[in-house]
């Protein structure tokens, strides 16, 4: 049951009806029950034991941390053991691409050695990357005394398996989800706003993203027929495809939670408005960035090793360089962890290394660039300059996404090779000679994509300005309001790309 399916909508309607009918004290139990049902229909049912195992580890260790805090027991050891346990489970089941090649290599080199690889055939749990991150955050929050340990193991399990966020996150902190256990009153506004957000998410995914996916997939499947400008089009369209897919799913998830009066953290904030890569990562996949900052970056920077390196740098270099050395190392660890979380060497070597390199170069040569802008008397506040910076950030993200979108390391290298080779024979006239039709879309589809991108841009801008685009809509006259929502509904219904059985294609970020 994907979150774009008809069955999911029925599931929400029935679930919400039960949720608001039952006594308020047991509402959290309904959410737990719904999470079980959702898991049963969305994943391999037995894999829920991994979620149970993670919850159990977190439950026992956080209670122990609280109990032994004032005694002479080393609670850091308890916290570390629990975190390592969770990482090991994730590593064995989800991170098998890291070790399976190594094991095969050892077996090949030493024929007498044979490993029992049955673990390779085990299915990972649904949303493992997301809930493992949440559990690790929860253990550290309890260890750092930010949160009090949850004494009810079933309530803790709800925090781990709350059904909407297992698909693609967001990665919530425990303090953000304590609202799960409170009493929730029925509110017409929540139902309306939640449904509207689900509809908007469906539009992004089914109408815009899946349509762009047809083009990008067809181009990379046959780079001989689609050479010249076409690979470049695929590269520059992919960020919008990914954004529509990922943020569309997040909209559906946040909208679903809103129907149940649960406010999940936002994951995107108009990312393509960013003028720098640093700003981009504060607007894109925000909850993963915040998680990595709070639980990886801060502890690494504050570790005695990095502080010592900082002090050593101060003695040997200028103040600016002395600051950049520990920053570069801290960022390196942060990006390494982000790469590992995505689950493959391709992500570490391609995506993480790329952004880390860009950020480090930006910091080291930032002052040179700033001086150049001043010397050339460029008005840095002017719209044209800001636009240029936004285009540059978009281009950097597009280039990095080649590694992300590719199917393997070799495929990524092939794509870069194709891009550079195609510069020699750019053929922009093929954009208008009907080549696009052979890609599997019509001119009507192209127009819908253009309209979709325009609407995405408008709504994101409105959301950033007003806080919530739906609040702005609420203030409009009734004809406009209803006209807009009904149009959006029919756009999704008529132009949404549904597969067999009306199940849409999978989400890109569902695999993590």
């Amino acid at each position: 049951m994907t979150v774009t399916s008809f069955y999911f909508l029925v599931f929400i309607v029935i679930g919400a009806a039960i949720y608001y009918i039952v006594p308020k004290k047991v509402q959290w139990l309904i959410l737990l029950g719904l999470s079980f049902v959702f898991y049963y229909f969305s994943a391999v049912p037995y894999t829920i034991i991994y979620l149970l195992l993670s919850t159990l580890i977190a439950y026992i260790t956080t209670i122990a941390i609280e109990k032994y805090r004032d005694k002479r027991t080393n609670i850091a050891v308890i916290a570390c053991t629990a975190i390592i346990f969770n990482i090991v489970i994730w590593f064995l089941l989800k991170g098998n691409s890291f070790w399976s090649h190594g094991v095969l290599l050892i077996e090949k080199t030493f024929p007498s050695v044979h490993f029992n690889m049955s673990v390779l055939h085990l299915t990972a749990a649904f949303g493992m990357g997301y809930y493992t991150a949440q559990v690790i955050g929860y253990i550290l929050d309890c260890y750092w005394e930010i949160s009090k340990p949850q004494k009810n193991p079933f309530k803790l399990f709800l925090f781990v398996c709350f059904f909407p966020q297992l698909t693609v996150g967001p990665i919530s902190k425990y303090s953000q989800l304590e609202c799960l256990y409170r009493e929730h009153r029925f509110s017409y506004k929540n139902i309306c706003f939640g449904s509207q957000r689900i509809l908007w998410g469906m539009f992004k995914k089914l109408v815009v993203s899946d349509r762009i996916a047809i083009i990008t997939t067809a181009i990379w499947a046959d780079t001989i027929s689609y050479s010249g400008v076409w690979p470049w089009i695929a590269v520059f369209l992919y960020p919008i495809q990914l954004y529509g897919d990922f943020s569309g799913c997040v909209d559906i998830i946040l909208g679903t939670a809103e129907i149940f009066d649960i406010k999940l953290p936002e994951n995107f904030n108009n990312p393509f408005k960013s003028c720098s890569v640093q700003e981009f990562w504060q607007r894109w996949h925000i909850t993963l960035g915040t998680w990595a900052k709070d639980y990886v970056y801060y502890p690494v920077l504050k570790s005695k090793y990095l502080i010592s390196i900082g002090k050593w740098s101060k003695k040997h270099f200028t103040k600016r360089i002395a600051k950049l050395i520990p920053w570069t190392l801290g960022m390196g660890v942060l990006w390494l962890v982000m790469g590992i979380w995505h689950g493959s060497v391709r992500h570490i070597a391609g995506v993480s290394l790329w952004y880390w390199g860009i950020l480090v170069l930006g910091e080291f040569f930032g002052s040179v660039f700033k001086n150049m802008v001043e010397y050339l008397n460029i008005k840095s506040e002017s719209y044209s300059w800001v636009l240029l910076q936004r285009i540059r950030t978009y281009a950097i993200f597009s280039a990095g996404s080649v590694f992300f979108a590719a199917e393997s390391f070799r495929d990524a290298l092939f794509r870069y090779q194709t891009l550079f080779a195609s510069i020699k024979n750019l053929n922009p006239w093929t954009l208008f000679d009907g080549t696009v039709i052979r890609l599997g879309v019509t001119w009507g589809d192209v127009n819908i994509i253009i309209l979709g991108i325009f609407l995405l841009h408008k709504i994101d801008t409105l959301r950033e300005k007003e806080g919530m685009a739906r609040e702005w809509m609420q203030k409009q006259i009734v004809v406009f309001r209803w006209g807009a929502w009904i149009s959006l509904f029919f756009l999704v219904l008529i132009y949404g790309l549904y597969g067999p059985g009306y199940e849409a294609s999978q989400f890109i970020y569902q695999g993590f």
Binding site: D141, W144, Y297, Y298, L301, I307, G310, K323, G330
Partner: protein, 80 residues
């Protein structure tokens, strides 16, 4: 140590970390008020405060600290 004394010493730390002799912090000063105060400088600042006041600030407080007023509360609480 009075609150005013803490602010006085904190101003010195902020000026040193951000390389700006003009900085004057108040109860409500946040990272939005000082241009270079990002997540990296936040830790630099915490480490500098720890050195100035000779104690360690727990990680939980480092993550949740929202403004300079809260930082002063922590210093007064831990510096007793």
């Amino acid at each position: 140590m009075t609150r005013e004394e803490v602010f006085e010493r904190l101003n010195k730390v902020f000026r040193e970390v951000f390389d700006d002799t003009e900085i004057v912090v108040g109860e409500k000063t946040t990272s939005n008020d000082i241009e270079d105060w990002d997540s990296f400088e936040h830790i630099n600042l915490v480490v500098a405060v720890e050195e100035e006041f000779s104690f360690k600030i727990p990680m939980g407080r480092v993550v949740t600290m929202e403004n300079v007023g809260e930082m002063v509360d922590i210093i007064l609480e831990l510096g007793k």
